[in-house]
């Protein structure tokens, strides 16, 4: 049963959708994806508000990471419609779209150059030459990395720890002033201290731009998110406010998932 079929494409019309947002920044309507003849995503419709953290949860292989990569068109073979700020992402130049939608992956990927050059890596040539030290400091502060690297901006980025590299990736994405951030399990490979630092940074960033955060850690989803989207087998099962989802999930699949994945998530 695909419950998502019944979901209309505007949030206010949806009875199942508990998110109340005047103007969704991101709107997916009947997004489907097939790879090598296999259905990876099936008619997913969802809406994201203009700020805050939305957790995208679901079992392994549910299509969470694939969905993120459809939004910034790293996967481009999907059907349906994805709109950012009211404009179809298909009609936006793909490179400028990706500058608008930052993606932080599970494994930090720093480039073999200095910390400073990594921060400005995504900027166009001219801007890279003229970027001010103050802008670099600001994004590194936003990513909670400034104090650790302020005296060694010219060191190789490889010399940073994994947690620091992940925060560097966050600073690099923020340098482009994105209007939306996609996060694909950004803390799953980190120690608790680094995880807390990233969570703290992202929570303050979420007051300005919306974050769609894929996580396997339901405790984390409960801790950080205001909304939850639950998908399973490529289908959207439920989207709701986090408190409602974790205390009173509507769908049977959601209840099953919570029962088997969290025992102490009351």
């Amino acid at each position: 049963m695909n419950l998502n079929r019944s979901l209309p494409c505007t949030p206010m019309e949806s009875g199942a959708n508990k998110i109340v947002s005047a103007q969704p920044s991101l709107c997916l309507c009947n997004v489907s994806l097939q790879l090598d003849g296999h259905a990876i995503l099936g008619e997913i419709s969802l809406h994201m508000p203009q700020t805050g953290i939305t957790a995208l949860i679901g079992p392994s292989g549910a299509g969470k990471s694939t969905l993120l990569r459809c939004i910034n068109r790293l996967h481009d073979g999907w059907q349906g419609s994805i709109e950012l700020g009211g404009q179809s992402v298909r009609e936006t130049d793909v490179d400028s779209l990706r500058r608008q939608i930052g993606l932080i992956a599970q494994k930090p990927a720093v480039f073999p150059c200095s910390i400073r050059d990594n921060v400005i890596f995504g900027l166009p040539n001219q801007q890279r030459k003229s970027v001010s030290d103050e802008s670099i400091r600001q994004v590194l502060e936003q990513a909670a990395l400034w104090r650790e690297v302020e005296t060694r901006l010219n060191d190789d980025a490889d010399t940073l720890s994994v947690g620091q590299q992940q925060r560097l990736c966050l600073a690099r994405a923020l340098m482009l002033e994105p209007s939306f951030l996609l996060l694909d399990e950004p803390t799953s490979a980190l120690d608790p201290r680094s995880r807390d630092m990233i969570e703290h940074s992202l929570q303050s960033i979420a007051s300005q731009i919306p974050l769609l955060w894929v996580t396997h850690d339901l405790e984390q989803a409960k801790r950080i998110s205001e909304r939850v989207i639950f998908i399973c087998d490529g289908r959207l099962i439920e989207q709701a406010d986090a408190s409602d989802f974790f205390s009173r999930p509507e769908r049977m699949e959601s209840r099953e998932f919570l029962r088997w994945n969290v025992c102490d998530c009351d």
Binding site: N72, L74, D95, S96, L97, R98, R99, G102, L103, A105, K107, P108, A109, F111, P112, F121, G122, D156, D158, C169, R172, A173, L176
Partner: protein, 275 residues
């Protein structure tokens, strides 16, 4: 068990070393300035010394490299950027098959196509193009392997930052892959230096040329010179020069192979340092 392995493994070590030792033993005494410059020498194309042959071999190799390198790089980048995984596998398989074709078959194709049909004649250009075709699969496969070794996360991160394909190649792929690509290029150059049959059909003559007048002039080369001189088995002085030419040829090939090995070590060290 160990003894059996050693028994089978030893010939693999001993035979090449013995061959190399024998060539050096025969060739080094024959090498002197007279043989190289041709002063006081006559007969069997020795009047100009081995200088012309060395120049011819290097011209053929360099020309082949200049033609093949950009084509190989473009094909490797096209394959990685635009072809689906299945098509990439087909391309790789095809390149492995092309690598297995005997060089003399390439030489025959070059003779028919470039020398006769295109009327280039026996020429430097025909030899360079056919050598380029021969080393092309080596270069493409090496470039593909170099690109495959770049972590997928880096490519995805670059694309996520809005880099277009040109920027991705220039700022991420080439800086990461160039040492391995250069290693492949040096190995390809060594291969071009070692090929004899294709240029025998398409590019070289025994004598009469020291430095080609144009791309459409024939050349002499060390490889084919050794072939011609070795047929004069009864003349020990001539065969001695052939051994000397062989030493020079091996030295040149070893130079490029050693360069490739050095680059590989630099690359390995860099990879270890970066993590």
């Amino acid at each position: 068990m160990k003894a059996v392995i050693v028994l089978f493994a030893l010939p693999a070590l001993i035979l090449p070393v013995a061959c190399l030792g024998y060539i050096l033993w025969q060739g080094l005494p024959a090498l002197n300035w007279q043989v190289f410059s041709g002063q006081g020498m006559s007969g069997f194309a020795q009047e100009h010394g081995l200088y012309g042959q060395v120049a011819g071999s290097l011209l053929l190799m360099l020309g082949a490299t200049v033609i093949a390198a950009p084509v190989a790089l473009a094909l490797a980048l096209f394959t990685r950027l635009y072809l689906k995984q299945r098509l990439q596998t087909y391309v790789t398989t095809l390149l492995h098959l092309l690598q297995g074709i005997p060089p003399i078959v390439y030489g025959l194709c070059g003779l028919i196509l470039f020398v006769h049909l295109l009327h280039w004649g026996i020429s430097l250009l025909a030899g360079q193009v056919i050598l380029a075709v021969i080393i092309l699969p080596v270069l493409v496969l090496n470039s593909l392997h170099a690109l495959e070794r770049i972590p997928g996360e880096q490519t995805e991160a670059a694309c996520s930052l809005g880099l277009n394909n040109g920027q991705l190649i220039r700022r991420v792929w080439l800086p990461a892959a160039w040492p391995a690509m250069l290693t492949g290029l040096l190995l390809g150059m060594a291969r071009a230096l070692s090929e004899t049959a294709p240029i025998l059909f398409t590019a070289t003559v025994f004598s009469g040329v020291v430095w080609p007048d144009s791309l459409f002039s024939p050349v002499t080369s060390l490889q084919t010179h050794i072939f011609y001189l070795a047929q004069e088995g009864a003349n020990s002085q001539v065969v001695g020069v052939a051994w000397g030419a062989a030493v020079i040829l091996i030295a040149l090939i070893l130079l490029f192979s050693a360069g490739a090995l050095w680059l590989r070590r630099v690359q390995y060290r860099h990879r270890r340092m970066s993590g």
